[in-house]
């Protein structure tokens, strides 16, 4: 019985290291009613679950459950493998810490050469628009047409956000009538469009910019003053780091996607 438990632990450990999920919260360690895996996870400090609590709770139903565990060992292993694969493939975008670890490595492999700033275009007034003038630094990196298309789409989004029309008036009047308490539960139209913009920028980074060693930063993170384009020099692969998505733009996964070596 002890030997089997020990084997279970070793197999789990091997699975763990192979999947390079050593810094993930260990789902493997949450195998129910398995004292050994609890100890294992507690040793590695991988789970914040009150381990003592679990140990105690697993103490009481022990006699029946340990027998069951040994019968289910292979099944548990298969399930664990599936969990790992699922984490890696499906939950990738939400898997921040794993991503962070991978991005750190990518970041080390690429170095930031320079940054280009696309300024605001005030010819239409104070609404948020960016200049579509192609910066010379990007001449060798990206096609003019792609760049202009990106900036024009962004400008379109901002125009939509700041559109003065029936719906914005309605929103404003409704908010006024509720003494603006409605904003505690509802998102404004502008915020919704900003989320769309973050998703678009993330997508553009993944598909177009990262393969060319560039990274677009969401203007919201720069106070809507500029679009910052970071130009990276490849060392081994063209990777790009995340830009601390404080506004939750989640552009971190963009770096993970950009692995096209030049």
């Amino acid at each position: 019985m002890e030997a089997e438990n020990g084997r279970c632990v070793e197999e789990l450990e091997l699975l763990w290291k192979c999947a390079n999920c050593w810094n993930l919260p260990c789902d493997l360690a949450r195998v129910r009613n398995s004292k050994s895996s609890m100890e294992f996870s507690a040793e590695l400090g991988l789970t914040q679950l009150p381990v003592t609590h679990n140990l105690h709770s697993s103490d009481t139903p022990q006699p029946e459950s340990t027998v069951l565990v040994h019968q289910l060992n292979p099944l548990i292993l298969v399930l664990s493998l599936t969990c790992i694969l699922w984490h890696e493939m499906v939950i990738n975008e939400n898997n921040s810490v794993g991503q962070v670890h991978n991005l750190q490595e990518l970041r080390r492999s690429a170095s930031l050469a320079t940054k280009v700033f696309i300024q605001r275009d005030y010819s239409d007034g104070t609404i948020c628009q960016f200049q579509t003038k192609f910066p010379p630094e990007l001449d060798s990196r990206i096609e003019r047409q792609l760049f202009e298309e990106t900036v024009k789409t962004l400008n379109g989004f901002y125009t939509e956000a700041e559109k003065i029309g029936g719906s914005s008036y309605l929103e404003g009047c409704l908010a006024c009538a509720t003494a603006y308490f409605i904003f505690l539960c509802m998102e404004t139209h502008y915020e919704k469009v900003l989320k769309k913009i973050s998703r678009y920028i993330q997508e553009q980074n993944e598909k177009i910019f990262a393969p060319r060693g560039l990274l677009l930063t969401d203007p919201v993170e720069r106070g809507m003053r500029v679009i910052e384009i970071s130009i990276y020099e490849d060392r081994c692969s063209s990777g790009s780091s995340s830009s601390g998505s404080s506004s939750g733009s989640g552009s971190s996964s963009a770096g993970g996607g950009g692995a096209g070596a030049r």
Partner: protein, 364 residues
């Protein structure tokens, strides 16, 4: 065997923001440093309305109509809500340029103006833009290291550039700018109505009661009435006047700043390019237009290694990793830490403790 869950103090971005602002409630509330006059405003409104509800309303609700205190309560709540919204929200502060951006702009300026010889004062940095067929100059802000958007101005009291800067109002304890102008306008409007309402019903009360027990007796019975009438009288002249002035500005889509400077008036000046030419359209845009969210991100979490560094190094913040730091065991907790006001006192940040101290003072 148990795992100790260590809750590390999380540094939020508001603690490292430059500028002379006070932040409360862990970054949710943003005000100027001098709050004394704001407390006076609160005291006057609350005090007057409390006296009104306690004395006059009881008599008038019985004698005339119970709708009187109800309507007064609605006006009072609305003006308090708009006052707090004006005072506590971000007026539209433009974050300062990060070092990379500032250097890029400097390079551009030097390219256009040419290098300035040592010892000579650099020429004022101005960019010209054409808006709606009129030339508008953009000024460079030396403090924030940005070219200010049109209609933005640098507030010397708060030491921030504010979009569509109207004025710094000590009565609300905050700047009035793009994001909180409509709240400010609704506040002064509702306060005017409330003042007129309270004043009028005080007069009615005194008149009604004097018919029964005489004028002096009435004043002796409710001495608060005298106080209320005095406060309302002086408030009326100032607040109603201010409301009228701002209504005029809203109708023309101008800011107080532009009006004082005379940007759009005078013979040789350009016409206001932001006005739609139609009063209704201007009002709708200013009061009901889309509201941009704050770009300051006060409650964003700074990565752990940044907790000891100054604001200009926020460039590293932005280019570094997600707030979930490389320390895996803590990340599950650090990002989920509830807004625990006791934590700042446990582990104060090593760098300028001014903002947290101010916050602590303000909370008292």
């Amino acid at each position: 065997m148990s795992v100790m869950v260590v809750r590390k103090k999380v540094t939020r971005k508001w603690e490292k923001l430059p500028g002379r602002n006070t932040f409360c409630c862990d970054g949710r509330v943003m005000m100027a440093r001098q709050k004394g006059i704001f407390y006076l405003t609160l005291f006057l409104i609350l005090g007057t309305c409390t006296l009104f509800f306690a004395f006059e309303c009881r008599y008038l609700a019985v004698q005339l109509s119970p709708a009187i205190p109800v309507f007064a309560a609605m006006l009072f709540l609305f003006s308090m809500a708009t006052l707090l919204r004006t005072s506590f929200s971000d007026p539209g502060v433009i974050p300062r340029a990060l070092p990379d951006e500032a250097a890029f702009i400097e390079m551009e300026i030097e390219a256009t103006n040419g290098a300035v010889p040592q010892g000579q004062r650099p020429p004022p940095r101005i960019k010209n833009f054409q808006i709606n067929n009129q030339i508008v100059k953009l000024k460079y802000c030396y403090t924030c290291k940005i070219f200010r958007p049109p209609r933005a101005s640098h507030c010397s009291i708060c030491d921030n550039c504010v979009e569509r800067f109207d004025h710094h109002c000590p009565w609300v304890g905050n700047c009035v700018g793009k994001r909180n102008y409509r709240y400010f306008y609704l506040f002064i409007l509702s306060l005017s109505l409330l003042t007129i309402y309270v004043f009028a019903f005080n007069i009615v009360y005194v008149a009604l009661k004097s018919l029964k027990i005489g004028f002096l007796e009435t004043l002796k019975e409710t001495p608060g009435t005298v106080l209320e009438v005095l406060i309302c009288f002086f408030t009326l002249w100032s607040v109603v006047g201010l409301t009228g002035f701002h209504t005029f500005l809203v109708a023309l889509n101008q800011t107080t700043n532009e009006d004082i400077k005379g940007s759009w008036t005078g013979k040789n000046r350009v016409q206001n390019p932001y006005s739609h030419g139609n009063i209704v359209k201007n009002c709708c845009e200013v009061l009901c237009g889309p509201l941009p969210p704050s770009v300051l991100d006060r409650r964003g979490i700074l990565p752990l290694e940044e907790s000891g560094s100054r604001p200009p190094s926020t460039q590293e913040t932005s280019s570094s990793l997600l707030p979930q730091s490389p320390v895996p065991t803590e990340q599950l907790n650090s990002s989920e830490i509830p807004e625990d006001t006791s934590t700042p006192e446990e582990m104060p940040p090593p760098e300028p403790p001014e903002p947290p101290q101010e916050a602590a003072e303000a909370e008292k």
